[in-house]
Subunit: 264 residues, 2 copies
């Protein structure tokens, strides 16, 4: 999708990656600035922000909060000089729980009452997985991680409710323990898997057909499922929220915080 | 203070301890129901609840949220059948940031708009410390842990701001590493110390004169400081909140959740 190789983009700093997206480059952030934590973004009107904050508190594995802005704010303590309206490669705009638009610059949609939540992303622990010898299939295959809406309900908060969304990584059976052990050290970016094996038990009919992101080869591996920040987008839909702006799954906000800062 | 020995009260379940407090027994909960997590309680009007929720998100080491009630609610997922208005041994009532009353039953002060926050408490990891051979001085001396208001400011949220409050445990120098390692495994009950040694660097003039709780013998040990949930009470004062109800420092809410459930 871009003319650069994965190696080039992986070596960027968060600030360098954000500058590229700010000037309009549209690409998934998989493998970009791979020493820096990535984050989910969801902006909602102040009138819905208490419920979303409580929803995050009640579903911390899916919605680990890394930062919450002031109303109308578009800066964050996670990235100096960042503009949350422009520094992601793509945004969804939601109205009444339905997708209304996809834009590369959210500035025209920004509102004075929007509170922006930045939520941990499991891409943050993938470098640690690979360094421990755990293959990450979607990186090997150059695609976005597959994500699924499950039959498991989140604990609701006020008007906000919805299903748990998970990301899936196929694991060689002898590396399941290693992957659990490593990712458990990263509770703020979803931590250990919520489920290992048997997709049907999560209400997932076919692990080859994700609801978001791309399909990856599973083969003889065990599908392992991590709670995913896209859970907040599923909640926007399920709760028919009047207005929201979010990242596009796989097109994340890249922070200045080193991945390792989220490891215990 | 009570006719029972520490051994008797330590063996109680959370429900048994709560029943004793519900019928009016007033005692610190130090050493009570020692297999079960204890929690700080702070109830504020719904109008201040968003700011307090955000304050907790922005100061997670001081304010790790274990549960947040519905407005007017007095139950919690942490303890079946518990009544948050009566099941603590003592409550403070706050008006305009000043202490207005201390009561054994908060029912007369409960309001339909009160949102109650239950916040992790470092008493939860003390059994793990002792099992690892780390002495816990205030338990040895049969008193409440010493707590101090520091010169370190919390990150504010809306109208809520205030200083960090810490609890102090003197550690033999050769056990500092063990205590850090063990408590780091309990991030939801304040985790590792925020500071080890030199009280003056935290703005604490004399470790023998705590602001809350009781003094303990320090001797040749190193004072270690953990973030403390009483930070929320200091914020009520500093922010001159119009109304709040809290636990009395050291007189905690005892849950049904085993201490070990909060260990990573």
């Amino acid at each position: 999708m871009t003319e650069t190789t994965r190696e080039d983009t992986g070596a960027l700093t968060g600030a360098q990656a954000r500058a590229r997206f700010r000037t309009g480059e549209r690409t998934t952030t998989i493998g970009w600035a791979d020493r820096y934590a990535q984050a989910n973004l969801i902006s909602v009107p102040r009138a819905a922000a208490y419920d979303l904050l409580l929803f995050a508190q009640r579903n911390p594995q899916a919605c680990p909060l890394l930062d919450v802005s002031e109303p109308g704010g578009h800066t964050t303590v996670l990235a100096e000089g960042a503009d949350l309206r422009t520094d992601l490669p793509s945004y969804y705009v939601w109205r009444n729980g339905e997708l209304a638009d996809e834009v590369r610059d959210a500035t025209p949609y920004w509102r004075e009452d929007l509170v922006t939540f930045l939520i941990g992303c499991s891409l943050t622990f993938e470098r640690a997985l690979m360094e421990a010898g755990v293959p990450v299939r979607h990186i090997e295959e150059g695609v976005t991680d597959p994500m699924f809406t499950t039959a498991r309900r989140c604990r609701p908060a006020g008007r906000i409710s919805g299903p748990l969304v998970v990301s899936m990584r196929p694991l060689p059976p002898h590396l399941v323990s290693t992957a659990v052990r490593i990712t458990a050290r990263y509770p703020n970016v979803h931590g250990a898997p919520v489920h290992v094996g048997d997709p049907a038990a999560l209400g997932i009919a076919d692990v080859r057909r994700p609801d978001f992101g791309d399909a990856v080869t599973v083969g003889g591996d065990v599908p392992a499922f991590w709670a995913c920040g896209v859970t907040t987008q599923a909640a926007v839909v399920a709760s028919k929220l009047d207005f929201a702006i979010s990242h596009v799954p796989g097109y994340m906000f890249i922070t200045d915080v080193p991945d390792s800062a989220y490891a215990l």
